[in-house]
């Protein structure tokens, strides 16, 4: 029965032109379970250094030493965006550290659902650190869903509160440079991370550390230092390695006149 169901599902997917997507996702999930199983059996995975993520603890420590706050923004997208989801997982880690050190954490939100999620995530982090009494719900606040009104308001918070550390994690649009430059002008240490390719250059020139695309997705696992979570990173690398091999072989074969690799991807057009 399960096989019949999967067979039907695969047929539907292929019919709608997403067969390769389904196949790749199944492969990725299988790799994820494989590495998770290895981690549970005691395997440890090494991750190469990511400077931007190593600086997270240092940045939080700096705010604590200076007795100033941390400002964290999850970007200008809704909770359905992958970068926002990645940002929320990093927020959890940052909130835990902030709670442990007793450092004020402000999260101006662009989307009401993201604000509610952020509130719950930060509250949970404070709870885990046994500091729930220090949690201030008002520090995770909604501003507006108008892009430049939000930007103007965050800039206002930056120049008035003068946080020592600014995290710009998530998906950003034209406001990226405005936010990062204002953060730079107040002397805050800034760590940015986004998968918005057009905004990455602005973060690179105006922030101390920038997480480029995939590094943002890897951040949660990297910061957790937990083998079970890091195993997901290993599965991601496995997927990327397969894609790398596919691209290399596909290019060589296509160069030689074969259309097999193109037709394999054809259904995803």
């Amino acid at each position: 029965m399960i096989f019949n169901f999967l067979n039907l599902m695969f047929q539907i997917q292929v019919k709608e032109g997403t067969g390769p997507v389904f196949f790749v996702l199944v492969l990725f999930v299988a790799a994820l379970f494989f590495f998770l199983d290895k981690a549970r059996k005691g395997a440890t995975f090494k991750i190469r250094k990511i400077a931007g993520l190593d600086a997270v603890n240092e940045a939080i420590g700096r705010a604590t030493e200076m007795g100033k706050s941390i400002l964290y923004t999850t970007g200008l997208e809704t909770a359905s965006h992958i970068a926002t989801i990645a940002s929320l997982t990093i927020l959890s880690r940052v909130a835990k550290r902030a709670a442990r050190y007793g450092t004020r954490l402000q999260v101006p939100s662009f989307d009401p659902i993201v604000m509610s999620l952020s509130q719950e995530i930060v509250r949970e982090s404070y709870l885990e650190e046994g500091m729930v009494d220090s949690f201030k719900g008002d520090d995770i606040f909604y501003l507006t869903q108008e892009q430049f009104a939000y930007t103007a308001a965050v800039e206002g918070v930056l120049v008035r509160e003068k946080p020592a550390t600014v995290f710009l994690m998530g998906y950003f649009y034209a406001e990226s440079l405005l936010l990062a430059e204002t953060g730079n002008s107040i002397g805050a240490i800034q760590i940015a991370g986004t998968d918005a390719v057009t905004q990455l250059p602005f973060f690179i020139v105006s922030c101390d550390y920038t997480l480029i695309g995939e590094e943002l997705y890897a951040a949660s696992a990297y910061l957790s230092e937990d083998s079970n979570i890091i195993s997901s990173l290993k599965a991601q690398d496995f997927g990327k390695a397969l894609l790398w091999i596919f691209l290399l072989l596909g290019s060589i074969a296509t160069f030689a006149g074969s259309t097999k690799f193109l037709s394999l991807l054809g259904a995803s057009i």
């Binding site: 390769p20 790749v24 103007a152 120049v159 691209l247 296509t254 057009i269």
Partner: protein, 257 residues
């Protein structure tokens, strides 16, 4: 350069121009430093935009999708038509209009509001968030896989086929006459893609061949970021020009003849 009259103050349009010019200057004043004029414009902007979006959400989402549907559903229920009330036709098939099925999202919405109303029952909001994140991820991940991975992979190897007439015809692509420059471009694209992808291998130590690839990858990334930076800065300059044009032409009435 001819100096015309400043926008008239006594017409609706003129008044609008004056207000817009004042608020533009208030926002520009931030370039000097934070000041009461900027604060005024900032708070006004945030307040007006929030009010605007509340109105948009009410008229475009809440009313048509929730209030109207529930009204129709309860009306049908009052008439004893249970199937129609829950958005089912005579044969029991699901209709596009959900009617009382909207009670489920309404309940999920109320669960979220419990965070602010009742701390004791706030845990129910997790059901809504779990549902929301689950559905959102379910939609976002396959889309990202298709557009950001498979279509990109296809684009990377497609050129090699397009430049080969036999391959292009059998793959249903438009054959292209390949020049040396186009071949170099295709190979550069391939090297750039492979090396940039290698840069994002996190679980492998960066040494040997991978280290070299990482270095090449980061060069490719930085070159593309540089190009993107220049391109986008020009677009931002055009935004500034648009604002200055408004101030000089529409407000001050300065025109170049």
């Amino acid at each position: 350069m001819i100096l015309n009259l400043i926008a008239p103050f006594n017409t609706t349009e003129g008044l609008g121009i004056w207000i817009a010019a004042f608020l533009t200057l208030c926002i520009f004043s931030f370039l000097y430093k934070d000041n009461p004029f900027y604060k005024f414009a900032e708070h006004l902007f945030v307040g007006v935009s929030s009010g605007y979006y509340i109105s948009i959400y009410y008229w475009n989402t809440l009313k048509p999708n929730m209030i109207d549907e529930l009204t129709k559903g309860f009306t049908a229920l009052g008439k004893g038509d249970m199937q129609k009330a829950f958005g089912l036709d005579e044969s029991g098939a699901v209709m596009a209009e959900p009617h009382l099925r909207m009670l489920v999202p309404l309940m999920l919405g109320i669960f979220i509001l419990l965070i602010f109303i009742s701390r004791k029952n706030a845990w129910l909001s997790r059901i809504s968030f779990a549902w929301y994140i689950g559905v959102a991820s379910g939609i976002a991940i396959p889309t990202a896989m298709s557009t950001r991975v498979l279509l990109q992979a296809q684009g990377s190897i497609r050129d090699f086929c397009s430049y080969n007439a036999d391959c292009a015809v059998s793959a249903g692509l438009e054959p292209q006459v390949a020049t040396t420059a186009l071949w170099i471009n295709a190979f550069l694209l391939l090297i750039g893609t492979l090396s940039a992808l290698a840069y994002f291998f996190f679980s492998l130590p960066s040494k040997g061949a991978l280290k070299v690839m990482n270095k090449v990858g980061i060069y490719f990334l930085m070159i593309s970021f540089g190009a993107s930076f220049g391109y986008t800065v020009m677009a931002r300059i055009s935004l500034l020009i648009g604002r200055l044009q408004f101030l000089f032409y529409d407000w001050l009435g300065i025109t170049i003849s």
